[in-house]
């Protein structure tokens, strides 16, 4: 394990930014903290547990161009707009967000591979960061995630005075070699101490004992037909906040944009199963009301996805939906309601 004092951290960041586009949580002008390209003027905010948006944007951006059509009379030509091949170093990612990449991989890297996602994923090196000040909305533990050991190509820990650095993968080791000069050897004891404190805090959190696995009937029809949906969805506004801030939601739309009469660009953008037109077809809509749409979102996260992916829920317990929902509806409330209704 290596370490660097916090005073010297900017030197490390500068060195890393030489090796690729360095993305770290930064505060923008309005005070929001999100992953942004670092430069010497920007102050990284590693003290913030969660970025406002999840890190999925880095691999699955909200809007992404796919191709361009050019027409000439009846003739058509297609140019693929190629996925990015820039090298990115993504630093300061929490355990929950790192787990979300694994879940997104199950969608986008499954055959047929999504080349846009894959290109970004392969060109990105992930430097995880252990949590030391979890929030009350955190429940990554519910999904077996250890907030103090986030993984990634490199794992880092921040204490009062230093950043600790541990390479995990080959790519991580190669990166470490390039910046090791800036750091010194360190004992793991400080990190272990911090992890113990964090875990003790986590245990005091309101959601410490919240579990999903084994609590919700994984029988699709049974859960689908549960009585809870109508009542629990009553407060939902059908906005897409939860979907868009969720690190695992991955629905998208493909749309055309007419640049001019003979030039069209096709792009994809995030979409949400909560949107009224998500399943709307010329001849009708199989999910007519918000009850069905609300149900779809949570059925997908809690039942369909795990059934198709070796039991992994499409949730990592980051708690962003708990923080952001305009009406305080969230996956925890739904999961708890389903659990109760099982006995009914």
């Amino acid at each position: 394990m290596l370490k660097i004092t916090l005073d010297n951290l900017p030197k490390l960041l500068a060195a890393l930014s030489e090796l690729g586009e360095l993305q770290v949580p930064c505060e923008n002008k309005s005070g929001k903290v999100d992953f942004e390209k670092w430069n010497a003027e920007k102050r990284p905010r590693f003290d913030i547990t969660l970025t406002s948006k999840s890190a999925k944007d880095l691999f699955f951006p909200q809007v992404e161009d796919l191709l361009a059509f050019k027409t000439k009379g009846k003739n058509l030509s297609i140019e693929q707009i190629m996925p990015s091949d820039k090298k990115v170093i993504l630093m300061g990612v929490r355990a929950c967000d790192i787990k979300s990449f694994e879940l997104l991989d199950k969608v986008f890297l499954k055959d047929p591979v999504d080349t846009y996602y894959k290109a970004r994923r392969e060109n990105t090196l992930i430097i995880g960061m252990a949590c030391s000040e979890p929030e009350e909305t955190c429940f990554c533990g519910s999904f077996g995630i250890d907030a103090t050991a986030p993984g990634g190509d490199v794992t880092t820990w921040i204490t009062k005075d230093a950043l600790y650095w541990q390479a995990n993968t080959e790519a991580g080791k190669t990166l470490t070699e390039k910046v090791a000069d800036l750091m010194e050897e360190a004992e793991a004891s400080k990190v272990e101490e911090q992890a113990a404190v964090t875990k003790a805090v986590l245990e005091k959190m309101p959601l410490a004992n919240f579990k999903v696995a084994g609590k919700i009937p994984q029988d699709e029809l049974k859960t689908f037909n549960s009585k809870i949906w109508e009542e629990i969805s009553a407060g939902c506004l059908s906005c897409c906040t939860c979907t868009y801030v969720c690190p695992t939601c991955h629905c998208y739309d493909i749309r055309d944009y007419a640049v001019s009469d003979n030039h069209t660009e096709r792009y994809r953008c995030w979409d949400s199963c909560l949107a009224s037109d998500f399943t709307k077809m010329a001849h009708g809509n199989p999910r007519k009301t918000k009850v069905e749409r609300f149900r779809q979102r949570y059925m997908h996260k809690l039942v369909y996805f795990p059934n198709n992916n070796e039991g992994d829920f499409a949730c990592v317990g980051c708690g962003r939906c708990l923080q952001k929902c305009p009406v305080n509806l969230n996956i925890v409330k739904v999961a708890k309601a389903l659990e109760v209704s099982e006995d009914v």
């Binding site: 944009y257 640049v259 001019s260 030039h263 660009e265």
Partner: protein, 146 residues
């Protein structure tokens, strides 16, 4: 650069009410009053038909200036349509100003059917104004420049 600036031909969208301003444009033609070909007229049944979004969309899709012409207040073919237009457009113009975009690229003028000369004059003036301002970039969709 200078050469390009000299060549700049603004795209102007003019929404004209069918009863007064469009007839005014006709009048300009009959009276052989010239106004620049930069002005593309879209005929609307009443200036009140123009949703503020039409103006925004025109800018978005590449207009450098947008002008809305209707009957003089009090002379609306439908009695009161242009009174509503006046309120709507005052708010829109103020909001464009507030957002720091294109307020001076948008104008509202009242031109009657008898005012062919005024129509030509207004358009000439507006084209000069927009030409001086140059290309609209703030409200234009960057994509349609490709």
């Amino acid at each position: 650069m200078l050469k390009d600036a000299a060549k700049f031909e603004p795209k102007i969208v003019a929404f004209c009410c069918n009863w007064c301003s469009y007839a005014g444009a006709d009048g300009a033609g009959t009276a052989r009053k010239n106004y620049p070909a930069n002005v593309k007229i879209i005929k609307v049944p009443c200036s009140c038909r123009v949703n503020p979004m039409f103006i925004l969309r025109a800018f978005q899709r590449g207009a450098d200036g947008v002008i809305l012409c209707g009957c003089h207040p009090g002379d609306c073919h439908y009695s009161t349509g242009n009174y509503y237009t006046r309120r709507r457009m005052a708010l829109l113009m103020s909001m464009l100003n507030f957002m720091g975009v294109a307020e001076d690229r948008f104008r509202v003028e009242w031109v009657s059917a008898a005012e062919g000369a005024k129509f030509a004059e207004v358009m000439n003036d507006f084209v000069v104004q927009i030409t001086a301002l140059g290309e609209n970039v703030k409200l234009r969709d960057l994509r349609c420049k490709k």
